[in-house]
Symmetry: C2
Amino acid sequence: MNSLVFDFPTSSPLGDEIRELMGADKGKVVLRYFPDGETYLRVESHVKNRDVIINTSLFHPNDMFLNLFFLADTLRLQGAKTIGLLAPYLAYMRQDKVFLPGEALTSVTFAKLLSQYFSYLITVEPHLHRYHSLAEIYSIPTIVVKAAPLITKWIRKNVTDPFLIGPDEESNQWVKEIAAEFPYIILKKIRHKDGRVEITWPEIGNLKNKVPVLVDDIISSGETMFQAVQYLKNHGMKAPFCIVIHPIFGRESYQKLQTMGVKAIVSCNSIPHPSNQIDLSPLLAREIIKFLRINA
Amino acid sequence: MNSLVFDFPTSSPLGDEIRELMGADKGKVVLRYFPDGETYLRVESHVKNRDVIINTSLFHPNDMFLNLFFLADTLRLQGAKTIGLLAPYLAYMRQDKVFLPGEALTSVTFAKLLSQYFSYLITVEPHLHRYHSLAEIYSIPTIVVKAAPLITKWIRKNVTDPFLIGPDEESNQWVKEIAAEFPYIILKKIRHKDGRVEITWPEIGNLKNKVPVLVDDIISSGETMFQAVQYLKNHGMKAPFCIVIHPIFGRESYQKLQTMGVKAIVSCNSIPHPSNQIDLSPLLAREIIKFLRINA
């Protein structure tokens, strides 16, 4: 039987695309609330012996987390063959260490919870910093999709004579991959205790007349990106492109970045956002199909 | 060392009262959010080898559920001796059966989750309908506090010549206990498929001149209570007292009930509400102390 892909809690263009590419059906679920805020949930699709995927946004995850478990638990009780979690943006990768005594190691609690309810997890470029792989905290199989090939393709098509800028050493991993065919530099970022960010630039030299393309995995507060854009401006460089994999854009940072004279702000569609221009669904669909075939 | 009682996520007068009665300290926790809605949490109290209790409101539980697990998991990692969940109102007791195929059995999923993170659970009059006890779904020790003695005491003090009314057969269990010293009747409630509620009354006879006291465990939509109050009015009875254990009061039902000419609306403080008049903390503190002594 065809696979079943639920968009949960809300419909998503990425979900539509993936269903079409996979030849999968759309899962149907009723979700409503009692006056005391409790969830009522009912799965309307036949799931028995089928490969089921929940396509969810873990952006602002707290509110819908319990619902995700209710759905997964119900699918299991109804006899689903596998229950995959498709989370193009994986939350709670930030706190990967206890910095101050008593801090919650949220990455671990979160990973353990998800590992209980799902057969496998598929995501795009998780924010790996101190962890080397998701297997350090997830006990289920994890499929990590790299956005680099799609970003490379986008730059090739849309930017003439680019040079890439990775705003910090953490970005090294994906900027290097994207930059296989373009020149690049990696900046050094120092985060002060008061939250202030300081960036050190290398010599730009002969890159000065190329088009700068800033690439980061996440724009959250936007502080790093603002500083980098300002630096380029101060040094008389061309207006930069800003490419981000996961467009979180907290605290009006998108609006602010737009006013700074950048050429364009471009993102992958892991989180629905007006800047979405790079579609992850072909890669995601391909990886899910491959995983299900190997594990059939 | 003294026990430690956290009020989570916010301070609560019930928590203050319980700490005083138990001679317990107040747990300190920092809770804030990143721009993408993720939680940052830090326990500031020393918890190693201490009996820790989290006093939480499970009213509108979805939003704060993940935070509750982050806190419990952190307390465990910090070496707390026991981690008790004090949930004066226990959520997700409603869906105790799959009525329509595909429905989430939320009571079970919820109970399993809580059972993983806590050493024991203490609550007040859970909404037991098809389950006979919490042990059917919770795998940790559960302490159920009965509100009946406190309600009896309140009525004795505040109502002259009362007779009690239980609005449906489910209320039988606690109305009978409260009514050991007062006359009472139990109504029959039929819930139609469209959500409409129909109530059948027995002969009231010689109770007609007494003061009616309606008692229910939960007022949620308020439909049952409205009908009962209206019936008493239509039959020329005295203005009734409405007593509820858990004042959920969804959909402006408190405001509506106030306009219906009732004598007073009174509740226990399991959920903070202007109608709170019956303090559960002495009974809760006593039961926690007893449990910890037995299990020391």
